[in-house]
Amino acid sequence: MASNGEPILQVRDLVKHFPLNQGIVVKRQIGAIKAVDGVSFDLHRGETLGIVGESGCGKSTLAKLLMALETPTSGSVRVAGNDLAHAKGAELKRIRRNIQMVMQDPYTSLNPRMTVGDIVGEPFEIHSEVAPKGDRRKKVQDLLEVVGLNPDHINRYPHQFSGGQRQRIGIARGLALQPEIIVCDEPVSALDVSIQAQVINLLERLQNEFDLAYIFIAHDLSVVRHISDRVAVMYLGKIVEIGKDTQIYDRPTHPYTQALLSAVPVPDPEGRENRERIILQGDPPSPANPPSGCRFRTRCWKAQEICAEEEPLLQIRPGADHPSACHFAEVHDVVHAS
């Protein structure tokens, strides 16, 4: 949980707009889906930043931007000081070694025609300078062992494994190049609850072992709280609140965060009766045409005129200890409410 020193990942004003085109022969741009619209954060070595938000808020697009699988409309992603978003060719390939990914669905993220050895060993073939040819098989077996799989299964195909085991294969692939950052895009949401805990524990063990920094994207708030040092809450392409996990979970200041937290299932029947439920009205507005000013104002019970006129910046508000993008930010402990 080191938060001193130079951040290993710096994201500044990251924007991704997907153009909406019309016309068959001559394409005209009639608008844009603002999937990610001005996101900034830092990530330090060995730290986990959780990113939460509902479906369609831009979490996965953000992950793709961090992996340079999409080109940002503007803004920068710096991995250990190198700009990933505008790098090309050999330089991009070199930066990629430092930032790897674990994907959501272990059933679609492994090539069904390749053996486990080929899948986990592919990073070495692409980045041939990392491991000499003779060593690769041994390295792949070491990786399988590290993620808790039997190294003798190197010649098996993905379909011969269970969901949890397949996700471990995906993690081994992500670890192969010894990156400092791993972007986990909903790494457990496709797994059974019992398997989720094992994979989360594996990720935590690997973090301690290799001093990894995680971007942990999820919609399960309790999973995020368990693994994250800091948490960012996204709504319609923007971060609305960011802070340490205790700050977000115990002292949320943004109404959207409070509403999200109030929806977390509470396993204790008594606590369940005592806690407060904030039910939001309506659906999130279309990211092609977000509301003026504060994007959350159409569903916010605190909204006033200023919310439509002035966009609230992500900054530390009076009475709070972490940044929040709300004009009327105030601490309101939803979960522990009596």
């Binding site: 994907m103 090539n111 692409i126 195909y157 999973v223």
Partner: protein, 306 residues
């Protein structure tokens, strides 16, 4: 709410090894094929025909290419012990001509199929993978060829090449030029579906280049529909070769082709049906064999039919 909602649990138990049959697409398909009567029958017929085409002398003691084996006095004689399938207009043995005619059919079928699959498959891979203007250009060119009615187009091409140069090569060329767009379309569609799969994204995130992605990730997962079309095309091309030869623009005498034999004997059919019926029978059996193969392969490779 407790501080930690996730509790540690014992390590995921790795299941004990079970000796079950592997379940990849290819091994499943192969398992299905081995147990499909249609496939076994079609494959046996096709194999027999390929052997006939490769070593016709094993099946006929008469060399059909040697004019001295023909005897005009025997012309249009019916079935007799020395000439099982009778004799044709020139008194040549129909049986040996049918046997020697298999070679043209098989060669045209295989070469035209290979040519269309390689060209159409390669261009389809490029069009599907790169998209944008590459796709527009290749797809529009393919559509131009697609729009030409096949027999008319082949007639036109062969007429331009001229009778003097006509032969196996020109027939293969005419058929291939008109048939590759079909393979391109199928390949392109399969590649577009595969391209957006997560494992392709994962390979890109690792920094894999386009050639590696196409060869290692997309091609093995997109090639199944092309294999099906390829198998079926074999039969189609063999039938088309016979049709073109029948129309007089394909294989020319003294080469032997079933289509040509049918054409030569059609005027005297009522008088001497054997020289027409036997090449027609062999042609039907050959096309049937390959269509059955194609059918069986399609059933085995189509996951929706499982």
């Amino acid at each position: 709410m407790s501080n930690s909602t996730i509790t540690a649990s014992p390590a995921e138990n790795t299941k004990p090894e079970k000796a079950k049959k592997p379940a990849s697409l290819w091994s499943d398909a192969w398992y299905d094929l081995r147990h499909s009567k249609v496939f076994l029958f079609g494959a046996a017929l096709a194999l027999l025909l390929v052997i006939i085409a490769a070593f016709p002398s094993l099946f006929s003691s008469v060399d059909a290419f040697n004019p001295s084996t023909c005897d005009l006095s025997r012309a249009r004689d019916g079935i007799e012990s020395a000439h099982w399938f009778g004799s044709d207009n020139l008194g040549c043995d129909t049986y040996s001509r049918v046997i020697y005619g298999a070679r043209v059919s098989i060669i045209v079928g295989i070469v035209a199929t290979l040519a269309t699959s390689i060209v159409g498959g390669f261009l389809g891979l490029l069009a599907g993978f790169y998209g944008k203007w590459t796709d527009v250009l290749l797809s529009r060119v393919a559509e131009i060829f697609f729009a030409i009615p096949s027999i008319l187009g082949a007639l036109l091409i062969l007429a331009v090449i001229g009778r003097d140069n006509a032969g196996i090569g020109s027939v293969v060329l005419a058929l291939s030029v008109l048939a590759w767009p079909l393979v391109l379309r199928i390949m392109r569609a399969a590649v577009i579906t595969t391209k957006s799969q997560d494992y392709v994204l994962a390979a890109r995130a690792l920094g894999a280049g386009p050639v590696r992605i196409m060869v290692r990730h997309i091609l093995p997962n997109a090639v199944a529909p092309v294999i099906v079309v390829t198998t079926m095309n074999l039969g189609v091309f063999i039938a088309a070769e016979a049709a073109l030869s029948f129309l007089g623009v394909g294989i020319q005498s003294p080469d032997i082709s079933w289509g040509l034999m049918i054409a030569d004997s059609r005027n005297r059919f009522l008088e001497a049906p054997a020289p027409l019926l036997f090449p027609a029978l062999f042609l039907s059996i050959t096309v049937l064999a390959f269509v059955m193969l194609g059918d069986a392969v399609r059933d085995a490779l189509d996951p929706k039919l499982r």
